[in-house]
């Protein structure tokens, strides 16, 4: 991917990728909402507004891509960026663990697992510290949300 972009001599990679993203979402929106009744300007159907928005996104996407290729100077603003893969995956996983656990194993175990996992998102994770934080947060969550605010959770 990087080689391909370098071949096109795109200096503003971020702008280009954003353009591609807009273009794809726009096309998908037109594709999906084209299936709804579009209607006329007088009687807009449920598809009218999304189709117009999709078309706008396509235009904006193409414009961003053209602009990204046309840029000649590299400013710090357009320089390439490094993706924080580990935090991305660990934070994502921690949230998904909560989503998967909350209806099955209850509030306390879900919070504990999520917090423990979240402690591993940083550069040098410490297991014992993570366990303590997770335990403290579980107690706090139960105290505030279950006993305090009386939200309908099951504890275990």
């Amino acid at each position: 991917m990087t080689g391909f972009l370098a071949g096109l001599a795109i200096r503003d990679t971020a702008g280009f990728v954003a353009g591609v993203l807009f273009l794809l979402v726009g096309l998908a929106a037109i594709g999906v909402s084209g299936g709804y009744p579009v209607g006329t300007l007088l009687h807009m159907g449920p598809g009218y507004f999304p189709v117009v928005l999709g078309a706008l996104l396509v235009i904006i996407g193409v414009a961003s891509m053209v602009r990204a290729v046309a840029v000649t100077t590299v400013t710090p603003d357009t320089a390439a960026v490094r993706i924080a893969l580990q935090p991305l995956l660990v934070v994502g996983a921690a949230v998904l663990v909560f989503a998967g656990g909350i209806d099955r194993i209850g509030l306390i175990p879900s919070v504990f697992a999520t917090a423990l996992l979240a402690c591993m998102a940083g550069p040098k994770p410490k297991l014992l510290e993570g366990g303590l934080i997770a335990a403290a947060l579980s107690a706090m969550a139960a105290g505030i949300f279950f006993y305090g605010l009386k939200l309908p959770f099951t504890l275990f």
């Binding site: 996407g61 402690c119 939200l151």
Partner: protein, 501 residues
């Protein structure tokens, strides 16, 4: 006089023990979370939102707005003491506030900032009390065409005036509008973009998007940085400013207050642009410009007053027109909808206790901040030493519980995770999430009012230019676009404010 009767009602509501406590709690929590490293006001609001679900509408709004301005004010404290702006709007406070602190004058800087804020906040509240009812009165006469044009102006102002690149902002705004169409179409009952999932039939709750693109994305990008830049706290000796400080600061405070109050009303500008504008204004007016950047008290007083005045007047379009002027206001609007209150021209007359109670509590909250911040500044500074890795699990857990408890749906939590990844991608691609969330909130309003307006006019687009108010709004929109085009032309690829991205 009507105003006094209304203010009396408001203070009556705000001073009941419960509401007073919630105001104090909100301001304290806002300050507390606001000074924590790497948590901005938006994340703070999104994170603490679920705490207010079970409260009465007034109490929850009072607490949320307390959190909002508490977090705002905390930003300038950290800017002065540690050169770390808590939020973008206190970025400029660093420029002169921190040098002052380095020179051992942190106390006067904090004190002037706090008093400037309080003065500006009080002025903002007064403006709100004076002008909201007449503005709502005008807005009451708005019909569908006016609403469509108003939303259009708000969206255009947001993409033109928000930081970041114009084209990408437009893209984000349209993406937000598109996300707003997910769910059941009110007029035809058609399920749009639900892909057969009943979980999406009611649309996406804004809290899911807010938590994803603000809180989760912020956590990921903070962790991705090598470390959160942190300098040791500056020493804090005497809090009290000298007589010469006061003499130098009172005019900038006045100017900042007026400037901020005006800019806060415009969608997309808000506190951040106001504080930058006030800073450059003070620099322009100064006899000796070289003092700026080396601890000029004017550089703290003006922007901080502007920042806080704008933070208050920011509420006016949201409360009177139902048009949020920024991301934080979009969150507040969403929170009000959760409570069953639709902000808009009818709110002041239909829920006077909510409007005036909120207004009175804002003034009380600003007073509390004055009391909270100055004597307790030592405690807040100590909070800054909490390592970020300890905060991460707490942020995630609070956000997960919050998102889940909106609908008791674990699907929402999965969706929020997805928006978190998307939000992180946006921050990598330098796309601002603000136009997206404003577009998302305003999208349904725009679509409904467009449809209704065109139905009433039998499909004739001329309806928008034939009505005086909507014509005025359209001219305003055209002016904004012209302004954007001119500044695009003037500085090539770079947009508006130098140094702000």
């Amino acid at each position: 006089m009507d105003l006094f009767a209304h203010l009396a009602t408001g203070f009556g509501v705000a001073l009941t023990p419960d509401n007073f406590l919630y105001c104090l709690l909100g301001a304290t929590l806002g300050t507390l979370v606001g000074v924590l490293p790497g948590i901005g006001p938006l994340t703070t609001i999104a994170m603490l939102l679920p705490l207010t679900f079970k409260m009465t509408p007034v109490a929850s709004l009072i607490m949320l707005s307390g959190i909002y301005y508490g977090a705002h004010h905390a930003g300038s404290t950290t800017a002065i003491m540690l050169n770390t702006p808590g939020d973008p709007s206190s970025l400029v406070i660093c420029l002169d506030g921190h040098p002052m602190a380095r020179q051992g004058r942190a106390g006067p800087a904090l004190c002037i900032a706090a008093f400037g804020s309080f003065f500006a906040g009080s002025f903002g509240v007064l403006l709100m009390a004076l002008f909201s009812p007449p503005l709502a009165g005008v807005a009451l006469r708005f019909a569908a065409p006016e609403y469509a044009c108003l939303v259009l102006v708000a969206l255009i102002a947001t993409v033109v005036l928000a930081r970041g690149r114009f084209l990408l902002n437009v893209g984000m705004s349209v993406l937000g509008l598109l996300l707003g169409t997910v769910g059941t179409d009110i007029e035809s009952g058609t399920m749009r973009f639900t892909f057969g999932s009943p979980n999406l039939a009611d649309g996406i709750n804004f809290i899911i998007i807010a938590v994803g693109v603000f809180a989760f994305a912020e956590v990921i990008s903070n962790l991705g940085r090598d470390r959160i830049g942190r300098t040791p706290a500056a020493p804090l000796r005497s809090l009290w400013p000298r007589r010469s400080d006061l003499a130098a600061a009172w005019k900038p405070i006045l100017r900042g207050t007026v400037l901020g109050s005006a800019l806060g009303l415009l969608p997309g500008t808000g506190p951040m642009v106001s504080s930058f504008a006030a800073y450059s204004l003070e620099r322009q007016l100064a006899k000796d410009r070289s003092r700026f950047g080396n601890g000029a008290i004017e550089g703290v007083a003006g922007p901080e007053a502007a920042n806080n005045a704008a933070a208050i007047t920011h509420f006016i379009p949201m409360l009177t027109l139902g048009i949020p002027a920024g991301a934080a206001m979009a969150l507040m609007l969403g929170a009000m909808l959760v409570q069953g209150i639709a902000p808009g021209p009818r709110m002041i007359s239909e829920h006077p206790d909510v409007f005036w109670g909120l207004l009175a509590s804002m003034w009380l909250g600003n007073l509390m901040l004055l009391v909270l911040n100055l004597p307790l500044v030592g405690i807040w500074i100590r909070l800054l030493t909490i390592p970020y890795r300890i905060l991460v699990p707490a942020i995630l857990v609070f956000c997960c519980i919050g998102v889940y408890s909106v609908n008791n749906s674990s699907f929402d939590v999965v969706l929020a995770a997805g928006f978190g990844v998307l939000g992180y991608a946006f921050s990598m691609l330098r796309c601002q999430p603000m136009p997206l969330i404003v577009g998302f909130i305003l999208g349904p309003v725009l679509e409904q009012s467009l449809r209704r307006a065109l139905l009433l006019s039998r499909g004739d687009l001329a309806t928008f230019v034939m009505r005086p108010i909507s014509l005025t709004l359209l001219i305003f929109a055209a002016g904004l676009i012209l302004y954007a085009a001119l500044s695009w032309y003037r500085d090539g690829r770079r947009q508006a404010l130098p140094g702000v991205r």
